[in-house]
């Protein structure tokens, strides 16, 4: 059995990122979409931390810290927007939030 290396982490990151993308594209519930977005951001974090582990310096960890902060801000704004959707539509089913066409 080979030891766990960089590529294993990257593969896991890629799988998480794809799962997140899939979730954003297919989930109808706004909260689920937000969760999927978080999954995408955290896939990036996994990548960065893995790179930091296999590199001589800690730059990757610094990047990851920034990403965590940004993801938190994104989530805050996202939840605020979900609230606004709920106030106007009385539901958070994104498939039915489609009033404009042209």
């Amino acid at each position: 059995m080979s030891p766990i290396g960089l590529n294993h982490f990257l593969a896991l990151g890629a799988v998480l990122f794809c799962l997140g993308t899939y979730g954003v594209l297919t989930r109808r519930n706004a909260i689920a979409v937000l969760l999927s977005l978080e999954l995408m951001f955290n896939a990036v974090n996994l990548n960065l931390v893995a790179f930091a582990r296999f590199m001589p310096n800690l730059d990757g960890v610094v990047l990851a810290v920034f990403v965590i902060a940004v993801a938190a801000a994104e989530a805050t704004v996202g939840v605020a927007l979900v609230l606004s959707i709920y106030r106007n539509f009385r539901h958070i089913d994104l498939d039915q939030v489609d009033t404009m066409k042209g």
């Binding site: 990257l10 990151g13 990122f17 997140g20 993308t21 954003v24 706004a30 979409v33 977005l37 995408m40 951001f41 896939a43 990036v44 990548n47 960065l48 893995a50 790179f51 590199m55 730059d59 990757g60 610094v62 990047l63 920034f66 990403v67 940004v70 801000a73 994104e74 704004v77 996202g78 605020a80 927007l81 979900v82 606004s84 959707i85 106030r87 106007n88 539509f89 994104l94 939030v97 489609d98 009033t99 404009m100 042209g102």
Partner: protein
């Protein structure tokens, strides 16, 4: 000592704008906030920020050098000066156009006014970033307030929907960009623009992950500038968002992201001159994006009856034209022309678009409608507004002697200069310009030929609108008539050549 002074000079615009942002925020915390006064303060602050870029220009443009801080995290070169000033002016004009309708458009206007300087600050940092993480953080400082601005009309379904759509597409693009950044960082071990290319050269075999990462960054930028095939969000967001927000979304971030694209791809990710096949791939991708954007934008615009959706489509088409300049800039030997043409075009586009949106904001505020047929007889209700719309749309359509014509001309020239075999792309762009005439003049048709639907009244143009529109029109005309001014864009474009990462 000198170092501190240099630092202060390079950062002065950002410091001024940040101070303005916090001051305006503080004013909003008073017991009886006065949004108009806040907006006035913000406008003067932003103008001061634009003025504060002048010393940087004087220092860097003549010698074609750059002031770098913190080992290259922050770069003040002519390119960043032009776009920092543009961001400040755009922000100031957007505020100028939103003061009068401020009470009707949304419930708590003070917050809106506060967000504008923050977005501008983000834009300024984004165009001056010399490193991927700084760029990303700046990019988020821009995006988050813009999501909120799109969703500003809390009690209107369209606005909430626009905000949500903008948020989801924007966040996905942020995540995609981050993933791309992580891959680029992982393969070359640095995030500094100036080192990526040199580090890449030392790698034994060209890693696929690097290419994939750059591709994801390109796609994410494509989302931000609404280039096809990443444009789907634009029409809905422009239509649903409050008009001043849509005006802001359609101008400032696009211009800044084009600057970032130039900085990022030239010499950094395109690896010009090192791995020629990689550069070719970029050019093919950019060409596909440009052609798709032009055709999609122009053809779909033909069918629009809502002027805001139409402006969204027209914006997509204009990004297509601009990408031709970026494309030319990624070709060895034509970098300067291509970059200068793209910069000139996007500056001109910003002002023409601001003028057109200024009219849309005012008409929408007074009549509550964005349907093109409701613009019928505008020339009689307000000759000035009709004239402003005429000039801005003519410039967007590329009619001489306005700046839009010269802009297109420079783009086509740069593209041909870069690669004569691409003359068919020039032909496509010209055909697209002719198509675009149909819908621009389709707006002007009711404006000038139609009779006012209600015989009621003349449209009164408040002085702030008058002033803002006059400024935009003056810029369009002066840039068109005095092409000497384009030397500014040439010098800004030269900054890219002087980049440390450039071969």
């Amino acid at each position: 000592m000198t170092n501190a002074l240099t630092m202060l000079q390079a950062l002065a615009p950002e410091v001024v704008v940040a101070a303005t942002a916090f001051l305006v925020m503080g004013l909003d915390l008073r017991r009886n906030p006065n949004p108009r006064a806040q907006a006035t303060v913000a406008i003067w602050g932003l103008l001061a920020g634009a003025l504060a870029t002048v010393p940087d220009w004087l220092d860097t443009a003549a010698s074609n050098s750059a002031l770098t801080l913190w080992g290259g995290i922050f770069v003040a070169d002519p390119l960043s000066v032009v776009f920092r000033a543009l961001a400040c002016l755009t922000g100031a004009l957007v505020l100028l156009f939103s003061i009068d309708p401020i009470d009707t458009e949304r419930r708590n206007p003070g917050d809106f006014v506060t967000l504008v300087p923050f977005v501008v600050l983000g834009l300024m940092l984004a165009v001056s970033a010399g490193e991927l993480l700084t760029f990303f953080v700046a990019f988020e400082i821009v995006s988050l307030p813009l999501y909120l601005m799109a969703a500003w009309n809390r009690n209107e379904r369209g606005s909430a929907e626009a905000g949500m759509k903008y948020f989801i597409t924007g966040s996905v693009s942020s995540a995609v960009m981050l993933y791309g950044i992580s891959l680029v960082f992982g393969t070359v071990g640095t995030t500094f623009f100036s080192q990526i290319a040199t580090r890449y050269e030392t790698l034994a075999d060209p890693p696929q992950a690097f290419v994939l990462g750059s591709l994801m960054i390109l796609a994410a930028l494509g989302f931000k500038i609404a280039a096809a095939p990443f444009h789907i969000w634009a029409p809905d967001v422009y239509q649903g968002a409050p008009r001043p927000s849509a005006m802001f979304i359609s101008t400032a971030p696009k211009a800044a992201m084009v600057a970032v694209m130039l900085r990022l791809f030239w010499g950094t990710l395109a690896l010009q001159g090192r791995d020629f096949r990689l550069a070719e791939t970029w050019m093919v991708l950019l060409a596909v994006m440009a052609i798709l954007s032009m055709f999609w934008g122009n053809l779909v615009a033909l069918a629009q009856t809502d002027i805001r959706r139409l402006m969204a489509c027209s914006g997509i088409a204009h990004i297509g034209y601009t990408l031709l300049g970026v494309l030319a800039a990624s070709r060895a030997g034509a970098e300067l022309e291509g970059a200068a043409a793209a910069i000139y075009y996007v500056v001109v586009y910003s002002f023409a678009n601001l003028a057109a949106w200024g009219v849309i904001v005012l008409v929408g505020w007074r009549t509550g409608s964005d349907r093109i047929q409701d613009y019928s007889g505008l020339a009689r209700r307000s000759p000035f507004l009709a004239f402003a719309l005429l000039i801005s749309l003519l410039s967007l359509a590329g009619a001489p002697p306005l700046a839009g014509f010269l802009g297109k001309f420079y783009l086509f020239r740069a593209l041909w200069e870069a690669q004569p075999a691409w003359w068919w792309m020039v032909l496509i762009a010209i055909v697209n310009s002719v198509i675009s005439l149909y819908y621009y003049f389709g707006i002007l048709k009711p404006v000038y030929f139609g009779a006012p639907q209600d015989q009621t009244s003349a449209l009164v143009v408040p002085w702030r609108f008058r002033a803002g529109l006059l400024i935009c029109l003056a810029v369009i005309m002066v840039l068109g008539l005095f092409p000497e001014l384009t030397r500014i864009t040439l010098e800004a474009g030269a900054a890219i050549l002087a980049q440390p990462g450039a071969p």
